[in-house]
């Protein structure tokens, strides 16, 4: 079964991160899971990681301190977009706020916009859409 090599979870809530990494682990979606608790940590990780740990799947929360999801997208678009064209980037949110959806659409790198929580059905959807060749 194909899977992602590295998944980067960007969320300030440790419980959410634990839940998501357990789910990903259990459903064998990715070899490695890395965690960043805000946008800034995620940028630092992307700048300093080795090639084999470069994420192919990023799950991004919106509400975070220091640097939130949209601010991270600004940086990502500028610094990392070119080298990471085949990275699947998903924005996860607690609300179906239409304003956020519109904002997310403005970024080409955002592949999907989903509501929390991440669950089995959504993971299977991701697998079907992006991992079956």
């Amino acid at each position: 079964m194909k899977k992602f090599n590295t998944t980067l979870l960007i969320d300030d809530d440790p419980v959410t991160n634990m839940l998501n990494s357990r789910l990903i682990q259990k459903l064998d979606l990715s070899n490695h899971v890395e965690i960043a608790t805000n946008g800034q940590e995620a940028v630092d990780y992307l700048r300093n990681c080795t090639d084999d740990k470069r994420p192919n799947l990023i799950l991004l929360d919106i509400n975070m301190p220091v640097m939130n999801g949209f601010e991270f997208m600004e940086m990502y678009e500028k610094e990392f977009a070119e080298d990471n064209e085949c990275v699947i980037l998903m924005m996860l949110t607690t609300s179906a706020n239409s304003a956020d959806l519109e904002k997310a659409r403005a970024y080409n790198q955002v592949t999907e916009f989903m509501s929390k929580p991440l669950n089995k059905a959504k993971i299977e959807l991701i697998r079907e859409k992006y991992l079956s060749e």
């Binding site: 839940l19 259990k26 607690t94 609300s95 669950n119």
Partner: protein
Amino acid sequence: MSLWEQKRGVLLNKIVWYFLLIGIPTSITLWYMDAVPNEFAVYIGALALSYIGLLILNSKGHFTITALYIVFAGDLATCSTPILLGPDTNAQFLLLLIAGLPFLLFHKNWGKRRLLMALMVFPMWVAVEWYCHSYEPMVILEPWVIEVIGYFYGAVVIGFSIYIFYHFTVQNERYAKKIKEQRNLLDDKNKRLEQFSYMATHDLKTPIANIEGFFELLGMDLEDPNQEVQESLDGIAKSISQAKSTIHDLIGVIKMVSLVEQVEEVALEEVMKGVSDGLSLQIEEHQVHIDVDFTDCPSINFGKVGTRSILQNLVSNAIKYRSPDRKPHIQIRSETNDQQVILSVSDNGLGIDMDTDGKKLFGMFKRIHTNAEGSGMGLYVIKSMVEDRGGRIEVNSELGKGSKFSVILPRIIIS
């Protein structure tokens, strides 16, 4: 008193004062000038005094009488002046002041009557011109007096013309600017409200989302749960679902209850169409017959979103609480008198026992009949909105027969 009526009252007052200010000094001047028969001065004086009577009528709110008097008596008086003094005094041009007044003084629902009143001036003009060129003026004045009066009336006509243009351009610009400012303020307020409800519920939604997630993980880890464990799992699943739905409804309520809208003239027919489109599935499914009549009062002074919310809630309730014994029939009416506007939604559904359940009806999360879905928030929300604007909701209902919900709003809603 609507905004238009207020403005008209002010305008009528200004006009009456204007004519008083012309009439009284003119008659005093003529009286002292001795060049003119006293009867003429008396005539002008009487006209001026009648305008004082008009001021009094106007201040008492008898706008239509005042307006009609100004138009008709004004036309006649203006026509009589050139007949009395001769066309060289430019008195016939005073008709310029009067001709367009019907459009200012009468509401647009007077329709073509306003145009007819204005057009009346044309035959009057023709008659006056013919008379003046066929006969001598009734009052022979010395040439210098005629000249002075000619300049005076010329100045009056020019001055009035400038004033009318001013009134319609500068005043309208100021008014439009004020409306825009108000709208911006409201937009800001609503944006802040949206942010607030988002932030307030985010910290509630996150742990619930996590519970849901871990619950699913737990389900995957539990091999072959026995019946008791399964019941616990089902209980948790149901509770999670309830919590999510309550939060969802709470967000809706926060928004609706705190929504501050621009008060405008909202066309009921249009709003109702949107509401029935939105409910079209249920309407067709349950064969609901909706009878709408807004002819007595086609629009109300309220907010657009609020009006929609009221109609939506009442109609969807009427459908929800229909009787299984008969075809659902909903009657929607709007009525008005001088003080109030009444919007009513009547149905032939299950009805409500007002003695036992009357008080609970508008409470939060309260539902009287248990066979329907929904959060029980709808009536609470619309009651808040209506009462905030100085109105109230009345319920007439008979168990087993049906219910009638009446939303009563005062006509005076000044934003």
